[in-house]
Amino acid sequence: MVTGNFKIAMDSIKHAKWRSFFTMLGIIIGVASVVTIISIGEGVKKQVSEEIDRRGPDLITVRPGKVAETDENGRINSASIFSSLVNAPLSENDLKVVSGTSDVDYAVPVSYLSGVPKVEKTEMPRAVVFGTSGDLPKALNQKIEYGAFFDKGANKNVAVIGPRVAEELFKETVPVGASMQLRGQSFVVVGIFEEFNDISLSPEADYNTAIFIPTEAAKKLNNNQLPIQQILLRPDELSQRDEVAKNVESRLLNSHAGQHDFSVLTQDNNRSISNEILNILTSLVTAVAAVSLIVGGIGIMNVMIVSVTERTHEIGIRKAVGATNRQILAQFVIESAVISFVGGIFGIIVSLVANFVLRVSTNLVPVITLPIMGIALVVALLVGVVFGVAPALKAAQKDPIEALRRV
């Protein structure tokens, strides 16, 4: 009976191709947008994860504020997107405490400075300026393509820039030796980073548009203060990572008089936090997109109600030859489920096309996995069943005599 109903459903879809298509449209758009959004989120997660892997598993990050809540096993169960915005930055003293911890190979401060760099008349407002120390390339595991990074104790007005800054501010690939203005002071470019992996939508800053200057120079620019947003450190050995992280945490806790207004994060923590934030974002946007699925379901319901009215005579015939109410109900529910499911398949095809277009035209790398497709199809099927029940009940409850009279 089910296969028969399936065939009837396919027949009626084929019979009214355009109407079926427009009925499906809501589901197609809904499924396509949900799948695309989730796949973008998954893609970003994957890229962030790869970047974290590239920097090495032994990197430890110290940040101001409590970035995430952890349960007793140290696993992160919620992350705060805005915590680093509202917290006071770390201080130079914190940097001393961190680098003074035993078994710490090196600790690199990263402090964010305001200021728009300028070369002659050209300005680059989207460039970000960081004060840091000479170990940064090691910490980020990133090579200098031209020139060299400044030394550890450098206090001259020198700068290392990301490749985008070279292109947009200096209009040349290798502006080594050129100078730029930053808050009234002149900085000489000594090195240019290799292209960083650019991850759109990642919570991290894009280092391709960054200008790095020595901490001493940064202090001078910033009224002799150095607000530190991040300290990157590496233990001597990978095996010491957890112990070092614990030591750093307890020493910082001491120096902060027991206030836990900072976070010591391993790479695994970073990964979970970034995933957590992306999950929040994608689920918000997905929820909005899911509304279109419901609207699509209502569209199916409308068309099915019309279809039931149109096919009253058919229902009468079927009942006269012995169809029970349940069999009529099944027929129409299956029909609406098939419409919705086929819409889901088209939606996935659309999202695959969107995926391709996004990969070609942006630096997003959306990932559509089989489970995502499977879930989308199941959801489409459910939408069809749920919104098909009301019209099907209407069909099943028709009086056969009345129905036969209506032609």
Binding site: I317, R318, A320, V321
Partner: protein, 294 residues
């Protein structure tokens, strides 16, 4: 044991002042193998009787036994099953599903029985051969003539080996040649031992029946056994008999209805166009003529 036993069956529509009595204490018993023709004017309750017997409708009061089983008070679900297994319907307008092929239409009742597709198509093919339409198996109903479509409908009605075949004016929308074919087929089916119940307005079709039942205002007013091939006496006596129109009537048109004298012999031959003086008219005469016109 009769196949159909109706005792004191009433069917009422509406309530209060507006109550319509569609069936009024109908008593009917039909034995296996009978070919019963039901006749009567419009609104006499023929269709309601068929709907009740075919389990499309429930009587308001009364007892209905189909094949030894009480079915008057069955629930919808069981009624549909009994309908599927014991009743075959043939309609005036064929009522085939337009988007299904002929063979699928014939196999439809088997599908609701849950039979596997290969098996039911095989059975349907055999049934189509019986009605002489083997070569039309994969045609759509719209590609058939009226007579062919009705034969498909007959095949569909027979596919479940029903206890009773209900035909509601099976030749009502067919020309006389196709009508003859369809009636011969029904007659063959009857002779093969099936019970057939047919509503018709055409008195000449009663010659295929073994019994003719006349209905009026929801009651059975006459019930007569006939020999096959003969038109029953009741019918000969009644108002239903063959057209009494003459050329004169045609010339006069509707007004001839008004001029018929009740005592005159059938066919108002004596009323000529010239002699147009109106005569006494009675209700009876008018009804007679009106029925004959139909």
């Amino acid at each position: 044991m009769p196949v159909i036993l109706l005792e004191d069956v009433n069917k009422l529509y509406g309530f209060g002042d507006a109550t319509t009595i569609a069936l009024d204490e109908v008593e009917l018993s039909i034995e296996r193998g009978e070919f019963v023709a039901i006749m009567g004017p419009s609104g006499s309750g023929k269709s309601t009787l068929l709907n009740v017997i075919g389990l499309l409708d429930r009587p308001t009061h009364g007892k209905y036994m189909l094949d030894g089983r009480h079915v008057a008070r069955l629930r919808q679900q069981s009624r549909a099953r009994v309908r599927r297994d014991k009743v075959g319907f043939i309609f005036q307008s064929f009522n085939l599903l337009p988007r299904m092929t002929v063979i699928e239409n014939v196999a439809l009742p088997l599908a609701y029985k849950g039979m596997l597709q290969t098996k039911r198509l095989k059975k349907a093919a055999a049934m189509l051969e019986r009605v002489g339409l083997s070569e039309k198996e994969y045609f759509y109903p719209s590609q058939l003539s009226g007579g062919q479509a009705q034969r498909v409908a007959i095949a569909r009605a027979l596919i479940n080996d029903p206890q009773i075949i209900i035909a509601d004016e099976p030749t009502g929308s067919l020309d006389s040649a196709s009508s003859r074919l369809v009636m011969e087929l029904l007659s063959d089916i009857h002779k093969a031992g099936n019970t057939v119940l047919m509503v018709t307005h055409n008195p000449s079709l009663t010659k295929y029946a073994s019994r003719v039942v006349f209905m009026h205002d929801g009651s059975i007013v006459a019930d007569e056994q006939t020999k096959l091939g003969e038109i029953p006496d009741t019918l000969k006596r009644s108002m239903y008999f063959a057209p009494r129109k003459t050329v004169d009537d045609d010339l006069k048109g509707v007004s001839s209805l008004m001029n018929t004298m009740p005592d005159e012999k059938p066919a108002a031959k004596k009323v000529s166009v010239k002699k147009a003086t109106p005569k006494k008219r009675t209700y009876k005469a008018r009804t007679k003529k009106a029925k004959a016109k139909k």
